[in-house]
């Protein structure tokens, strides 16, 4: 039996968390796997791999997208922020991360990277959300252990912190 033909590969260069990163991957490499396996940024979690759970949410050109529903080769040259890029370079947590810790908005933490990226982008566009808007914003992210009450609380707390910082 002959060997299967090797799959063609593509050079993918992107900017991740402010720095240039690249790897050579087949076209079918999902952005989620590209980040985790090729770039070894395992902060982005992979849950359902069909766009339902929200764990793999990253910011693509500052807007949240499901990295499991995007091919890495499709975003060559674009700017990506993962959960690793939210804290300051010295490790100081971002206001959203701090609010999650303070409000007990995580238990097992599996879904947390998706929530953090989603909420970070949401608060950038909605600095003073109502509770209903906060619920709508996280409606595409599933959490199976913490419960959503504290996540909503953390969202509103982070919004408050960000508003205070800007004053």
């Amino acid at each position: 039996m002959s060997e299967p033909e090797p799959e063609p590969e593509f050079d993918v260069s992107v900017v991740v968390n402010g720095g240039p990163r690249s790897a050579t991957v087949p076209a079918r490499r999902l952005l989620s796997d590209f980040l985790r396996h090729d770039l070894e940024l395992t902060g982005t979690h992979v849950g359902c791999e069909h766009g339902v759970c929200g764990c793999c949410t990253v910011l693509l050109d500052a807007r949240p997208v499901r990295s499991c529903l995007v091919f890495a080769v499709s975003v060559r040259g674009h700017d990506i922020t993962t959960v690793e890029g939210l804290a300051a370079p010295d490790g100081t947590l971002s206001p959203v991360q701090r609010a999650f810790a303070e409000c007990h908005a995580l238990q097992c933490g599996f879904c947390t990277p998706g929530f953090l990226t989603t909420i970070t982008a949401f608060l950038g566009e909605h600095p003073d959300p109502t509770e209903a808007e906060a619920v709508e914003a996280i409606s595409g992210n599933l959490c199976r252990c913490t419960g959503y009450q504290n996540i909503v609380k953390a969202t509103l707390r982070a919004a408050e912190t960000l508003r205070t910082q800007q004053q």
């Binding site: 063609p8 791999e49 766009g51 529903l69 091919f71 499709s74």
Partner: protein, 284 residues
């Protein structure tokens, strides 16, 4: 949960994309936002031989053009861009009424309006909207172009009349007549899920406020978007409440839903009636 191998091209112009699609014929599949296609690939429900990625064609295909006559949405305009376009929503409020119910905000950042039309899922919102407003799509292929009316576009569940080598380059959503109000309502098992049943309505009145036309388009209760004219039911009943119920009864009798794991056909039929009544009230 990983896609099967496929060949991949990212042409730099629409002309190149059309030439490539022409050469590939039935082996070619267009990748736009990918929010429906990539899950199908991940679950290995689809295995196209060659993906033609149009995400690099933002300059040619990304526009949302608005005039008093209607809204033209380019093939690469994301749901979120249309939803956020004040001019587009000003001309056709139904666009936002429907788009806010398309999956979740994060999906709408990547998914495209035209992609949703090309995917032709009977449980998607935008095909019903395009049919209700009597819109069309502009279809290009190497060396030719044609306009396909919404009523002709949808051939069956997940099936359009597009031929191999063709690309929808834009969709046209015409403005509705003066004094027309709209509403879009749906019932989902969980927020953001596909609708168990959904309805878009448009109600037109004369200057004295009397209804002169009422139409509705349905989601998830027929193989292709079903458009019903509810005008007779709404203008001939005895009292206002009776008229709405007459329209709701007509809707429930006209849909042809199927059973599936989410709902029985009977429940969907019931919802078609209830949502019709609610949507008509919301649009009054």
């Amino acid at each position: 949960m990983k896609p099967p191998p496929f060949a991949y091209s990212a042409p730099g112009t629409v002309t190149d994309a059309l030439a490539l699609l022409a050469a590939l014929g039935p082996d070619g599949k267009v990748l736009a936002g990918g929010q429906s296609l990539v899950p199908l690939l991940n679950m290995r429900l689809a295995a196209p031989a060659h993906l033609v990625d149009i995400n690099g064609l933002e300059a040619e295909l990304g526009a949302v053009e608005v005039t008093d006559a209607g809204v033209r949405v380019g093939a690469l305009a994301r749901h979120s861009a249309v939803e956020a376009s004040a001019p587009a929503v000003g001309v056709l409020p139904l666009l936002r009424q429907a788009l806010t119910q398309v999956a979740h905000p994060v999906i709408r950042n990547r998914g495209t309006v035209v992609g949703s039309l090309a995917h032709a899922d009977p449980s998607a919102e935008l095909p019903a909207v395009l049919c209700l407003v009597g819109g069309s799509v502009q279809v290009a292929s190497a060396g030719s172009e044609r306009i396909v009316a919404a009523a002709d576009l949808f051939a069956g569940p997940m099936e359009t009349c597009l031929r191999p080598g063709e690309l929808i380059v834009s969709a046209w959503f015409p403005a509705l007549p003066e004094r027309t109000t709209t509403a879009f309502l749906e019932v989902t098992r969980r927020h953001g899920d596909y609708a168990v049943c959904g309805v878009a309505v448009a109600v037109t009145r004369d200057p004295d406020g009397a209804i002169t036309g009422a139409r509705a388009a349905y989601v998830s209760v027929s193989d292709t978007p079903l458009v019903l004219d509810l005008t007779d039911a709404l203008v001939t009943g005895e009292a206002a409440g009776d008229r709405v119920f007459a329209a709701a009864r007509l809707a429930a009798a006209s849909v042809s839903p199927d059973d599936d794991i989410h709902a029985t056909a009977g429940y969907r039929r019931h919802l078609a009636g209830v949502l019709t009544a609610r949507a008509l009230r919301a649009a009054s």
